[in-house]
């Protein structure tokens, strides 16, 4: 399981910049970022190279964050690659809450981060493990990619 750091943020200029500066000043690398926005606020979702250190820094700066368990799957970077994954989940009636890409440095494959509802998380893991061509990554392996 991958630990994603989720942060609530009001939707106006400077807020994201503030967060990024704090992480930069403390030498914490962001491996992946996704922002979901509404009119008034957004949620910033981060995969950090050093999650625990990042959490500590955010806490010190009074930024409320929470950890969300998400899945990371390595798939082939070609047409239809993602479709295999979504197909498998659909067959099991598992809904994807959100998904975004992770940019690997050391592989030509694509990596997708996704969240499913907590109650079907285990089922999603089992399902994806059984699909040939999908490599479900654990925390350490993901961050080495």
């Amino acid at each position: 399981m991958i630990r994603q750091v989720s942060i609530f943020m009001e939707n106006h200029e400077g807020r994201l910049n503030n967060l990024l500066k704090i992480l930069a000043e403390n030498d914490i690398n962001i491996r992946s970022l996704n922002i979901a926005e509404t009119m008034d606020y957004g949620i910033v979702r981060l995969i950090l190279q050093e999650t625990d250190k990042g959490l500590g820094v955010l806490k010190k700066h009074n930024i409320m964050s929470s950890l969300t368990p998400v899945l990371a799957a390595e798939i082939s970077d070609q047409p239809g690659g993602l479709s295999i994954l979504v197909d498998a989940l659909t067959r099991e009636k598992i809904n994807i809450v959100y998904a975004y890409s992770f940019l690997p440095k050391k592989t030509d494959n694509a990596i997708i981060i996704m969240r499913v509802d907590d109650e079907v998380l285990d089922k999603a893991v089992e399902t994806l493990k059984a699909v040939p061509g999908i490599n479900l990554l654990d925390r350490e392996t993901l961050l080495l990619k």
Partner: protein
């Protein structure tokens, strides 16, 4: 268990007869003895003889804190000073304090009502009462003290403060009842915890808390932390002091001792008397006070009257837990809104009290209410749809409680301004 069953459980019809008789006597007395009231009566074109039923009370003028200040210190006393045996005063945050005087009979009545109140809240003649209300000009300390002596309980007049000593005495003297403000009770519980003292090891059974508004949530917290039953007591020096109204074992509203006080609820803007069950400003008339009888005193406290019979058997009307002060009231599109109403919705939705701020604006001719709610860890979800659901729930509940369609804004934790730990709850940006 009652202290004075024949009065506490008096059939309502008889109670109302008694009220009317006492009201008539008081009205006639203040008309003749106090120039202030005589002038007010004349301004309203009313004579004491015009009071022939309890409903006629509505014809009489209100009394406010300003009236007490204007007649500082003794102008509203109805007896000469030699008949006054005690003087109390409430701290004036602005200017002079308000002064009240008690005759020997007033002190006896107060002790009686306080004894009834203590009993209703679970104190008994064998109780050991640790009275941590302040002794002095404030009515809290001495009010409880005299009631406890009347009850025959053992009173420890420790007064407020000195927490280390409070805890030592609580342990060593085996106090069974604690009387203080709810906020001090919470503080005591925290110190007990810090010192590693298990409340189960104490003999404390009951807490009687008042002198400041507190919520049902705080009650639960105190009951859990101190392992006691916590009861709400109401009073104000202008009317008497603590013991004007008290919660019984049902913990569902405070019985007001109607053989001595008549409660009414008014709309604080139109001053119209509201029917039972409707929320508004509490107005109290004293009908037996000798030193300083008060006619239709506007307490500025927001509550409602509960007239359904109470399971405890007492026939006296109940007022609901105080909902706030009229000073905090907002009028939005002609609707009276109290910050506490919003607060109770937020409590209900989130289980912990979140920080919030009400922002009132005027767009063209229309008032708008924005409720800013600080997101907490318990409220946060990383799914937008959950946050939207939360906003919708708050919006719907506020609408059903106040009738107002508010805009709900979730804001970052710790982003709302705080003064002394509390948020600045209301920002009114209307330019009228």
């Amino acid at each position: 268990m009652y202290w004075n069953k024949s009065y506490e459980c008096m059939p309502r019809e008889k109670l109302q007869e008694l009220q009317l008789e006492r009201l008539k006597r008081m009205v006639s007395r203040i008309y003749h003895d106090v120039p202030f009231y005589r002038n007010k009566f004349q301004e309203c074109g009313i004579m004491p003889e015009d009071i022939q039923s309890l409903a006629d009370l509505q014809k009489l003028p209100f009394t406010t804190k300003v009236d007490l200040r204007d007649n500082y210190p003794y102008g509203l006393f109805t007896v000469p000073l030699e008949q006054i045996v005690r003087i109390h005063a409430s701290s004036g945050t602005t200017g002079k304090p308000t002064v009240v005087g008690y005759t020997r009979n007033d002190i006896a009545t107060w002790s009686e009502l306080m004894a009834r109140s203590l009993m209703a809240a679970g104190a008994r003649p064998h109780s050991v009462i640790q009275n941590a209300y302040g002794y002095g000009l404030f009515t809290g300390g001495l009010g409880v003290h005299y009631g406890a002596e009347r009850l025959g309980a053992s009173i420890i007049p420790i007064s407020g403060g000195n927490t280390a000593k409070q805890i030592m005495i609580m342990k060593d003297f085996g106090s069974t009842v604690l009387t203080c403000t709810p906020s001090y009770a919470i503080y005591l519980a925290e110190v007990l915890k810090e010192q590693g003292i298990d409340p189960e090891a104490l003999k404390l059974e009951v807490g009687i808390f008042g002198a400041e508004p507190w919520s049902e949530n705080i009650r639960k917290e105190i009951e859990k932390k101190l392992k006691i039953k916590a009861y709400d007591i109401y009073g104000l020096s202008e009317i008497m002091g603590p013991g004007v109204a008290i919660e019984c074992e049902c913990q569902n509203g405070l019985h007001m001792w109607e053989d001595h006080f008549i409660p009414e609820i008014i709309d604080p803007v139109t001053l119209e008397v509201l029917p039972h069950g409707e929320q508004g400003e509490l107005v109290i008339t004293t009908i037996t006070k000798e030193g300083i009888p008060i006619l239709r005193y506007r307490t500025r406290d927001i509550t409602k009257i509960i007239d359904e019979p109470c399971a405890c058997g007492r026939t006296h009307l109940r007022i609901s837990r105080l909902q706030g002060r009229t000073d905090d009231m907002l009028i939005i599109r002609g609707v009276n809104v109290f910050p506490t109403q919003i607060e109770s919705v937020l409590l209900e939705v989130s289980e912990v009290e979140p920080h919030y701020q009400l922002v009132v604006r005027r767009d063209g001719s229309l008032d708008t209410l924005e409720v800013k709610v600080e997101l907490s860890e318990t409220l946060f979800s990383d799914k937008i749809s959950n946050l939207e659901k939360l906003e919708r729930r708050i919006k719907e509940r506020i609408n059903s409680v106040t009738g107002i369609n508010a805009k709900i804004s979730l804001v970052e934790p710790k982003s709302l301004p705080r003064s002394e730990g509390k948020s600045q709850r209301v920002v009114d940006l209307r330019k009228i």
